[in-house]
């Protein structure tokens, strides 16, 4: 059985950051990093462990974000209730997309393309329909009270997103130690062999996409509360689908800390290239892209793979074939 101690350690270390510094720059960087880590952890469960590569996790992020925002703005429902409603709505969209895709036997790139299409349809729909504020977007009224899930300082936000990330890490670790997780990995490795061994692959994949959507949905709700504004491009835009898969892939898809490691790397990289490139417009994105290509090319098993190789090497007489 894999233990929970690494999660406790990492979360405690991150939790004491606000006692060391209350710099808004640092906290803002960490909050957005943790937000992406949460978005990506949802993807990691379905894509990293289950081998189902979604290109449309924005569908879950956006639905959850809109649900929590619309419930507050249009119906005056408490934001904390909105958080749970948003997570529920996100996972519902996950279940619906899952039924449609997996029932019709979509695998590999076909699944990826259809999930991308769903997110795009939702983006276009939300950019014209009145309830989402159409092209204007939805602005959540400023109401700086903890009861309204809004805070004067960034510190409570930081701890809340950290709590959500911690919960997602615990969820994934629990999955790793369960039959569900073993079945999910079996489906990733060989779906036919899995069904020959009595695995209801449809049910397992459906459970995975629903749970995955719930985790990514939680990030969507948090986003809405933190920035107090969403529109179609933010909620359902390709940027969030890309960050959702980029973070865990850079981190080492299918490992517990993949998304957190990957989010740290890509966010740090993004900031660093902005500093380096100075005023040249777009140059930071070019450098960012090049470095990402290098990372993915040189370390196909991500940061986690590199770390594992580094830590193991000194203890082994002969290098193993799977290193590097």
């Amino acid at each position: 059985m894999k233990t929970y101690w690494p999660i406790v350690l990492v979360v405690v270390l991150l939790a004491i950051v606000p006692f060391v510094t209350t710099s808004n720059v640092v906290l803002n960087f960490l909050i957005t990093t943790l937000l992406i880590a949460l978005v990506g952890q949802g993807w990691n469960l379905l894509g990293g462990y289950g081998g189902q590569y979604s290109f449309g996790h924005a569908a879950f992020f956006g639905t959850a974000a809109y649900t929590t925002a619309i419930l507050q703005v249009q119906y005056g429902i408490n934001a904390w209730l909105g958080l749970f409603a948003g997570i529920f709505a996100g996972s519902l969209v996950g279940a619906v997309i899952g039924v449609l895709c997996f029932r019709s036997g979509l695998r590999g790139s076909y699944f990826s393309l259809v999930t991308l299409a769903f997110a795009e349809v939702l983006r276009i729909f939300s950019s014209v329909t009145p309830i989402t504020g159409a092209g204007v977007g939805t602005l959540i009224k400023l109401d700086l009270r903890p009861e309204a899930f809004q805070f004067q300082s960034r510190v409570p936000f930081y701890w809340i997103v950290l709590t959500l990330v911690a919960l997602s890490l615990v969820t994934v670790r629990a999955a790793e130690n369960s039959r569900f997780g073993a079945y999910l990995v079996a489906i990733r490795e060989n779906e036919d062999a899995a069904s020959a061994l009595g695995i209801n692959t449809f049910a397992v994949k459906l459970a995975a996409i629903t749970l995955s959507a719930a985790i990514t949905g939680a990030a969507g709700c948090f986003y809405a509360q933190y920035f107090l504004f969403i529109d179609a491009a933010i909620a359902y835009g390709p940027w969030i689908s890309i960050d959702a898969l980029l973070a865990p892939i850079v981190g080492g898809a299918g490992t517990l800390f993949a998304s957190l490691l990957g989010a740290l790397v890509i966010k740090a990289l993004g900031e660093a290239t902005k500093l380096l490139s100075g005023d040249a417009p777009g140059l930071d994105l070019v450098i960012y892209g090049l470095v990402l290509i290098a990372v993915v090319g040189l370390a196909p098993r991500g940061v986690a793979g590199v770390l594992t190789a580094l830590f193991r090497r000194p203890f082994r007489a002969q290098p193993e074939g799977d290193n590097g």
Binding site: N190, S195, L197
Partner: protein, 251 residues
């Protein structure tokens, strides 16, 4: 318990215009080893895929233990006790041998620890005890064939479908594997196997079915079918049986 564990009734399968299986009917008696042989392309693997639920039939029925399972998906059949191996081995390549087998054990063991423990036992029973922690991708051909068998055994099947589990093994590996297979019937399993290795069929199977061009052309003991002119012709071509008989009478 039914007299025959598996009954295949008038099963036909078309691939486009090609008739791959032509009204195949046979029974596999409980507790026996039945071999399904035939030249390459005869439809053995197709028939296996139909019995295990990976391919739909175009006609006919498959009955298991008295129940009609013709339209059941593979995982339901597995729960009933039908296990199969794949001719082209299908390991969970990224997992260790023990983790591979544990996926099968999980069918009856919810807890991860119990499934891994059960996997140890199965691995020992097929001679994979030394490679428990080896990644499945690093196994030799003989090792991966054993792993195929071990995974199928882990679901505690009553009917075991072995698709060329000896193919690609050298003679000494075959000699090691034959008793492993025979031991399974002693543990109460019923086996339907396809095989090219005649030595193994003679050693193992009580009943042999010969499939050629999608039709079952002969059935009986290994000696009976080997002497059947239709079977000889299926393997060696039209008129071969007559020429062989003529040749041997001259000698």
């Amino acid at each position: 318990m039914a007299e025959s564990l598996l009954t295949v009734e008038n099963v036909s399968k078309y691939f486009g215009g090609l008739l791959a299986i032509d009204k195949a009917s046979f029974q596999v008696r409980t507790g026996t080893i039945t071999a399904l042989i035939g030249p390459n392309g005869a439809g053995k693997t197709t028939l296996f895929s139909i019995i295990s639920g990976f391919l739909p039939t175009d006609d006919g029925r498959v009955l298991y233990d008295g129940a009609d399972i013709t339209t059941e998906p593979p995982h339901r059949r597995a729960r009933r006790g039908v296990a199969r191996t794949f001719q082209i081995v299908q390991p969970f390549a990224g997992l260790t041998v023990r983790e591979n087998i544990a996926i099968g054990s999980h069918l009856w063991q919810r807890s991860r620890a119990a499934a891994l423990e059960a996997a140890n036992q199965v691995a020992l029973s097929v001679g994979l005890g030394a490679q428990l922690e080896a990644p499945a991708a690093t196994l030799t051909v003989a090792g991966s064939k054993r792993l195929e068998l071990a995974r199928a055994l882990a679901i505690a099947p009553r009917l075991l479908l072995l698709d060329e589990v000896l193919a690609g093994l050298n003679p000494s590996e075959i000699r090691d594997m034959v008793p492993v297979v025979r031991e399974l019937t002693a543990r109460g399993m019923t086996i339907l196997m396809t095989e090219h290795v005649m030595q193994a069929i003679t050693a193992l199977a009580e009943h042999v079915l010969v499939l050629a061009e999608g039709r079952i052309i002969a059935r009986g003991t290994a000696q009976e079918v080997a002497a059947d002119p239709l079977v000889v012709e299926a393997y060696l071509g039209r008129g071969a049986a007559r020429r062989i008989t003529a040749g041997s009478s001259h000698a």
